[in-house]
């Protein structure tokens, strides 16, 4: 039972931030696409903007790994 709970906890630790990241990127993506249509020189900044919410899922992954390998 404990193993199941640990696995579920690890899954939630990565799934919830992944959903949050997806939501954030879904908002950033169209805004970035619109900005790039007018100013292509912003490409690097745009890529970074899209990468910023990935912090959540990366930290989620770290927490999941910590739960599984504690």
């Amino acid at each position: 039972m404990e193993a199941v709970l640990i696995t579920v906890a690890a899954a939630l630790a990565i799934a919830i931030p992944a959903l949050a990241t997806a939501w954030a990127q879904s908002r950033i993506g169209p805004a970035v696409a619109a900005a790039l249509a007018e100013k292509p020189e912003l490409t690097t900044t745009a890529v970074l903007m899209i990468a910023i919410p990935e912090t959540m899922v990366i930290l989620g992954f770290v927490v999941a790994a910590a739960i599984l390998f504690r």
């Binding site: 900044t45 990935e54 930290l59 770290v62």
Partner: protein, 631 residues
Amino acid sequence: MIIEMSKVRILGPRDRLPDVLRTLQDLSLVHLAAPAAAVGEPLSRVRLAPAQERESRHLRAILGDIDAAVGELRPSGAAPGRVPRAAPADLVRWARLARRVRREAERARLQLAALEEEKALILKYQQFFSAFRSLFEAEARWPNARAYHVLVRGGDAGAIPKLRASLVAAIGQEFEIYTQPLATGEIALLLIVADPAAARVERLLAQAQVQEIPVPAAYGGGALSEAIPKMLARLGDIPGELDRGRRRLRELGQAYGDELLVARAAVYDRLRELDALPLSGVTPHAFVLEGWVPARSRPDLTKRLAAEYGDTIVVSEVSKEEWASQDAPVVLSNPRLFRPFETLTRVFPLPRYGTIDPTPFVAVFFPAFFGLMVGDIGYGVVLVGLGLLLHRLSKPNTLLRNVAEIIGPCALFTIIAGFLFGELFGDAGLRWFGLRPIAFDRHEAMIPFLLLAVALGAVHVLLGLGLGVASLIRRHPRQALGRGVSMIMIVLVILALLATVKVLPRSFFTPAAIGLLVAFPVLIVLEGVVAPIELLSTLGNILSYARIMALGVASVMLAVVANKMVGAIGSVAVGVVFALLFHLVNFAIALFSPTVHALRLHYVEFFGKFYSPGGVRYQPFGRWLPARPRA
């Protein structure tokens, strides 16, 4: 790094100002600035005389013509270096030449565009016209009849019998239908109707929303039978006309291209000379010029002016107390190995003078982070190949060359990390060659890898805070002190944490905690109440480096999965192909994701601690060159 600048003041007799400006333009050393207002009452800024204003407007108009003509002709000759100064007669001649060549080139280019468009139109319909051509004999047999040319969609097999039935019902037998299938699957349909029945047929076609093929107006706009031969004949003429047009452009380029390039450089030079005049200050008898030069070039400037003008011109250095560092222009000068990384730092505006250029730090940490994330000998070797290929395909001082030169250190760190983690295309090295990790196996030891990533983060962020202190200490000592206290508190937090998890002896905990309690109020006094929030944000920044571990583990997992495909699929050959494809995908991800995240760690976590953008680019007053060499 940002090189040291000196502010210089050049004084001399007023009548020598134009000559001195020309000498300075030839030297291309001084970034001119308007003289400080506090120099004295008799000093006034030079204003262009009406004749000079007219000349400036005239030169800009000539430049417009030259740029347009050069843009149209795209002369293949090498760009001229420094050109002789233009005499008034040259300017008059170039003005006429540029206007004439621009008109001719634009006319030729427009004709070429029109011909290409016409050719594309005819080619688009060529097959269709050819199909109708075979039906024209039938059209000729009906002298008093109307012909309709229609395209029937492919797959609509019942459409023609239906049309025939409708026509019989409407006008009896006073029509004929001829069809010709096209390679596209469509059907060319010719409908010939006796004149008296034409009105009823047109109504029928309109009701069925069947449209006739339009005949382009340029070919008479009337009957297709007359237009098609003209269009096909035209198709034969167009290539010759295109060749003549291109030859004309080439001839214009060969005849006038080089002269126009020389004219452009000379006109730019004269315009710059005129634009520099209002940056000079004058009294009834003297002039004063002020500007910045790289400190190492100041003796050279003094020597060259002395050699040319003797004692009549005085060059003196303006003391640093008289100018604000944010007004000084910035010129970056990094060692050859670090220079390609300026591409990554130039995403931001230039750093202010007196602050720190992050390029050398990026040149060390970016490849290190990238290498730790990818960490595979095999991928590193492939990356070396990619870098060499890009290097071969690119020209010096281009973005592609810089990327190739950035790939080199990244590949090196990837290979080193590959040896540390014992990875060669994932676990293939272990399976085939018994390759063992020198440090630890990322596949298994995630927690040590996480600690390594966060420790690197701590070093990187503390370095950023240290650079912030160094950059602020002269201009804003209080802020620098606040940044220093933050730095100490971060170190104390880390020591306390390490003591708690028993990496350090427990005895470290109490002094660290006391240190934190003492530093906290000092930080609030220096930085205000937001300081604790910033401190927490800095700790968050350190944790953000955990992404190095996350991406590294994801990379090795994908590589291991790729290797497992060899045994998992029935046929070994198919398994190997799938494994290679999977490695290719992993390599592509390894190129993109670690780059973006390594950049983010620099731009957000590192630069945020010390980078001060807003520097003015050093642009010495000099002769015009199409592509300026690096300073």
